[in-house]
């Protein structure tokens, strides 16, 4: 059994106890300690800038051309915080409870409570940085509601919350760059962890412009490299999002936690054809005002406007009257899949449901007309004012939808379908966010810790920033306090030599194959296997098949991949090939984990384990644990378990009815 | 921040352009107002008297020096900026650009300015040299005119205009000069205010429209002068 090192004591005092008893590093010593941060999304940028502010010498790496492009930027809806500004009964405990319940009781109480505790400080910090959150006319911060909760605790900046939060963190990071506390390495990709005496001591990174390999020493290494949703090829992740940094750490001994826990987001723009390169999310906030429906009749080919009210099935409202369209993501996604599989899907592909704003437009129109003193408004007036309100709230999302589909969502209901969005799994970390390798940390989506088997909307931003701003500055000190006697290890050390040689060999191998198929093509094939057999619904037979297919694909990849260009130049094909190779290995592990977890929970739905009504059925007796997989030579994995102990919350069957 | 830093920064240089531009615009107002006197049907008496007043008053003469300095600074800084700005893109686009939202004249201020400068040289040669330097290269010193029964004896600038604008080529060049000025002002007027920091949407729009009106009215008035004389509407 793994030990998460959760502090003793009552749940609501664990973090404050930890903070007041953890070891500290004095300022003079901080200057001598070097920290490497991989990735500059919310977790990475906030960690790098906060550690820089504390006085550590930080090196930050990102594969993009600028730290501001990390994919946190694409988060739309908002960030949760237990501020209770709305006086609607929110509290730290409620946020904690909602997150635990939303995660279907597969997350750690200690971590989640800490997350809820620091959530309020995140908002304060971001406001102070100049993040332009939405405000009310009185000048105070505005909130909206999000899936899986009954209070309004989500702070937002139109549909660009992730962007604004990331720019805030990025600006803080650039400030530290200007002050010389952080050295920024853009267009650099981490390709190996360097281990000395069992501790993480540095990395090998490839300069993506020149192709050169570089050695970097650090007293600690922070992986803030995001999630691995791109293993499915089609996802809402950015094209460059990859698992490589986390996977290299895994292959060097870091355990991978709950790899099969992936989140399928219910409201994405459906696939339009073979050419599709990625999927685009329509913010969950749209479910606040939009109503989801399909025709009552199977294979109904009428236009949505021709289908009368009585022939529509608002299936979420029907099945889950208490939460209606605001059920958590996993529930909403499965419900959509269920309808489409049963033949009620809409659009040319029949793999979509309607998200309808006609009602919201009418409702807002009525409110506006009342405000304007228009009695008995005409249909046109209602529409006019209603559209105006909807435009202000969701205009950018509607515009995006129109650009992608060519349809006007103010006139025709949007077509949506679930798509891979987030991965709750990631590197296993303890309470201090440290992996089982001393000195190696994982933050944000790269770790597995806080969301259990399903993440609630607007909680990813919260977790990334919590880890970077408010957790790691304390917990890293607890480790580095014992490292002050470790002087900088020169990068001529044999461990660096060896790590660089391994990396070089692998790159040369990739280039030498010169087969017939592009990395992109392999990626698509992997994605198809994963989506079909390890997607929204999984079963033992499919997963076993998937494992066999993925193994064959891996073998074929290393025999037949074709990488154009050369090593020592800017070569996106080579970058891609390396990432796809890692995804293939990860895919196998995901299927193994999914096969091993014979229960349904959150986003992980095993067809063998469901209630009579088709809801996910947990098996707490046998699976109340975190799966932490250890990589062994020859693509074997050993399962370690971390028992989940609930001291405060009593796990029950999740109900949103 | 030292003044040198202020005025050598990219914004400072633009500020010089804007300030000198507005100064020159203020001169245009006086100039067009005075010249409009040619349309007073008294065979140029009002105009000549006004011109004489401007030409002899010491304060105006001092401002005239400022005017020339203003022109020089505007031209010098303008060329410097244009050259600098053009040097920021060594490899140009192959497909023509700039047609997504900007007007051609806003992108051609250097060219328009050059046309105006050429026009100005011609204009100075026609009217300033004879009154100040006694003329050169075929333009002779101004004749004299007597008013108030011989009590007032002044330069006949009006006569000079009538003479110069008998040549159709000159008239066309003047009209073209005014056209260049109109476009130059259509952009320059509001741009100067923007450079000086006008960012209130409502006033920015107002200034912009006023600028359009100003450039049309002023340049039309200027252009009508040679046209009126050529066609004999003023005698």
């Amino acid at each position: 059994m793994l030990d998460a090192k959760i502090p003793k004591g009552p749940l609501d005092q664990k973090w404050s106890t930890y903070k007041s008893t953890c070891k500290l590093v004095n300022p003079a010593n901080k200057r001598k300690l070097e920290v490497i941060v991989i990735g500059t999304g919310l977790a990475g940028a906030s960690a790098a800038s906060s550690l820089g502010e504390l006085g550590y010498k930080v090196k930050a790496f990102c594969f993009q051309d600028s730290p501001r492009r990390a994919h946190s930027i694409a988060a739309q809806g908002g960030i949760n915080a237990a501020k209770n500004y709305q006086n609607d009964g929110d509290s730290v405990y409620r946020l904690f409870y909602d997150t635990i319940k939303g995660g279907d009781y597969r997350s750690r109480e200690g971590n989640v409570h800490r997350l809820a505790e620091v959530s309020a400080s995140i908002i304060d910090q971001c406001v102070a940085q100049g993040v332009p959150f939405a405000r009310e006319y009185g000048g105070l911060l505005s909130n909206r509601s999000f899936g899986g909760t009954q209070v309004q605790r989500t702070f937002y900046a139109a549909g660009q919350t992730g962007q604004q939060l990331l720019i805030g963190a990025y600006q803080s990071l650039e400030r530290q760059v200007a002050l010389g506390n952080v050295k920024m390495y853009s267009r650099h990709e981490m390709l190996e962890i360097v281990m000395i005496d069992g501790k993480a001591r540095g990395i090998i990174a490839r300069n993506l412009v020149t192709g050169e390999l570089e050695r970097h020493f650090g007293h600690a290494v922070l992986l803030c490299s995001g999630g691995y949703g791109n293993v499915f090829y089609l996802s809402t992740n950015a094209m460059g999002s990859n698992v490589t940094a986390a996977w290299k750490a895994h292959k060097r001994g870091a355990y991978f936690g709950n790899p099969c826990f992936t989140q399928i987001h219910p409201t994405c723009i459906p696939v339009s054809g073979e050419h599709q390169s990625k999927l685009t999310l329509m913010s969950e906030s749209l479910r606040n005002d939009g109503r989801i429906w399909v025709p009552l009749k199977q294979n109904d080919t009428r236009r949505p406007s021709e289908i009368p009210e009585t022939e529509r099935d608002y299936y979420l409202e029907r099945r889950y009257p208490a939460f209606g369209n605001l059920v958590p993501r996993d529930v909403a996604s499965r419900a959509a899949k269920e309808r489409c599989d049963a033949g009620y899907g809409v659009g040319s592909s029949r793999q979509a449901v309607y998200l309808d704003y006609a009602f919201a437009i009418d409702r807002y129109g009525m409110i506006e007309c009342n405000k304007q003193g228009i009695n008995n408004p005409t249909k046109e007036q209602l529409r006019h004012y209603g559209v105006e309100v909807v435009k202000e709230k969701y205009g950018n999302l509607f515009d995006m939808y129109e650009k992608i589909t060519g349809e006007n969502p103010y006139e025709i209901p949007m077509r949506i379908y679930p798509a891979v969005h987030y991965t709750m799994g990631g590197l296993w970390v303890d309470y201090e966010l440290q992996t089982n390798i001393p000195g190696l940390y994982a933050l944000g989506e790269a770790n597995f810790s806080d969301h259990g088997a399903n993440r609630l909307g607007a909680s990813a931003l919260m977790q990334g920033l919590a880890d970077g701003y408010f957790v790691i500055p304390y917990t890293i000190g607890n480790y580095l306090a014992d490292e002050i006697r470790t002087t900088n290890i020169p990068t001529s050390h044999p461990a660096f030599e060896e790590a660089e040689k391994n990396t070089r060999d692998r790159i040369e191998k990739l280039m030498s194959i010169q087969g017939t198929e592009s990395p992109e093509s392999f990626h698509k094939r992997l994605g198809k296997i994963m989506w079909d057999k390890c997607g929204m619904a999984r079963n033992a037979q499919g997963l076993q098949e998937a494992i066999t297919e993925i193994r064959a694909l891996r073998e074929e990849f290393w025999r037949n991949v074709k990488v154009t260009g050369a090593i020592n130049e800017f070569n996106p094909e080579l970058d891609k090939a390396g990432r796809v190779a890692d995804f293939i290995e990860l895919g196998e592990l995901m299927c193994m984990d999914a096969l091993n977890r014979k229960e349904s929970c959150g986003g992980h739905f095993r067809e063998e384990s469901q209630t009579e009504e088709g809801e996910a059925l947990r098996d707490d007796d046998n699976f109340m644990f975190v799966s932490a997989w250890e990589f062994k030579e020859g693509y074997n994995w050993e399962l370690h378990k971390e028992a989940l102990e609930y001291e405060v919350v009593h796990p029950s069957q999740r109900s949103y009815k | 921040m030292t003044w040198k830093q202020v005025f050598t920064s990219s914004i400072g240089k633009k500020l010089v352009m804007g300030l000198t531009g507005l100064f020159l615009i203020s001169f245009l107002i006086v100039h067009v107002g005075l010249n409009a006197c040619i349309w007073v049907p008294d065979h140029g008496e009002t105009f000549n008297k006004g011109a004489n007043f401007m030409g002899t008053m010491i304060l105006v003469r001092i401002i005239e020096v400022g005017l020339f300095l203003g022109i020089l600074l505007h031209v010098y800084q303008g060329y410097l900026l244009t050259a600098q700005n053009n040097s920021r893109r060594s490899q140009n686009y192959t497909a023509g650009y700039g047609n997504k939202g900007s007007s051609w004249y806003s992108r051609s201020m250097g060219l328009l300015g050059t046309l105006i400068l050429l026009f100005l040289i011609m204009h100075i040669y026609h009217f300033w040299t004879p009154s100040r330097l006694g003329g050169m290269w075929g333009i002779h010193e101004l004749g004299e005119a007597d008013y108030n029964n011989g009590a007032v004896h002044i330069h006949n600038l009006y006569g000079e205009m009538i003479q110069v604008f008998q040549n159709p080529v000159v008239v066309i060049l003047y009209v073209l000069g005014c056209l260049s000025l109109a476009y130059h002002l259509a952009h320059g007027f509001h741009s100067a205010f923007r450079t000086m920091g006008l960012h209130n949407r409502r006033y920015a729009k107002m200034i912009r429209n006023f600028g359009y009106g100003f450039s049309i009215v002023v340049c039309l008035a200027f252009a009508m002068m040679p046209v009126s004389i050529y066609f004999g509407w003023v005698k």
Binding site: A128, G130, P572 | S10, K100, G101, S102, A204
Partner: protein, 257 residues
């Protein structure tokens, strides 16, 4: 929306690296669906080039949902192509018709040297931010988020300016290769908020100094940047930047600069 297929001719800028001279290459791309995004058309072309044993065209892209600011193509003489308020990745092929010839070039500005093909180095923009585009608040220093109300109007204007994605289209589209819209957006964003007030003067002065140092041109208000901006950021922000600069210049304290 009617779907259709089209055959296109692409003229694409190819350049091996920063030092070597670039040139155009012409490709015919048949069977492109009107449903594809512009970058998916490039994916199709690149896949073909790889199969033919040629090097695919390098271009920057990441999120493909119009927010990360990585994509950057100058399409038929327009930054990000013909659609207003749209990034290259969000441009879809229904903007074109069968038989069209499309010329694709990288951002061109000396401050953005070409790395390869359509990929340029835009790190100058990061350095402008590093020069002062932030509010100096260390983690943990913040007061309660609601302790300082912000006028909604100002908050909204600040947000509109903060929507900048740092793609560099403003520079690419400007005849002077000026980064004033980028810089103005950040200066405006922070100057409009009470939290940004203490550093107003030093911020604008330092950011402009850095902008000049990076080799961007000055603003002559052609407003092409606003038209090219995928987030439709207003040139008003440039005017506000000018106002901020003048405020700093004419009321400079002795300690400044």
């Amino acid at each position: 929306m009617e779907h259709y297929n089209m055959n296109l001719t692409l003229k694409v800028w190819r350049q091996k690296n920063e030092k070597e001279k670039g040139h155009f290459e012409t490709y015919s791309v048949p069977g492109i669906s009107s449903e594809m995004s512009f970058l998916e058309m490039f994916d199709v072309l690149n896949e073909r080039l790889i199969n033919e044993g040629k090097e695919p065209i390098a271009f920057d892209h990441d999120c493909r949902e119009g927010i990360c600011g990585a994509c950057s193509m100058h399409i038929n003489g327009k930054a990000h192509g013909p659609w207003a308020g749209t990034t290259t990745c969000q441009l879809h092929m229904r903007a074109f018709k069968d038989g069209d010839t499309i010329v694709v070039e990288p951002w061109r500005a000396n401050a953005f040297p070409v790395i390869k093909d359509l990929v340029t180095d835009r790190s100058a923009l990061d350095r402008i931010i590093a020069a002062g585009g932030y509010i100096s608040v260390n983690t943990g220093n913040a007061v309660d988020g609601n302790s300082l109300p912000v006028e909604k109007d100002k908050a909204d204007t600040a947000f509109a300016a903060a929507a900048c994605i740092g793609c560099g289209a403003c520079v690419a589209a400007c005849k002077n290769s000026s980064a004033m819209l980028f810089t103005g957006a950040k200066v405006s964003h922070l100057a409009l908020l009470p939290q940004g007030n203490p550093e107003r003067k030093t911020r604008v002065v330092n950011m402009i100094a850095q902008m000049d140092k990076e080799g961007f041109g000055s603003c002559t208000f052609t407003m092409e940047c606003e038209a090219a901006c995928p987030k439709e950021i207003s040139v008003n922000n440039i005017a506000r930047l000018n106002a901020e600069y003048m405020r700093a210049a004419f009321t400079a304290e002795e300690t400044m600069g």
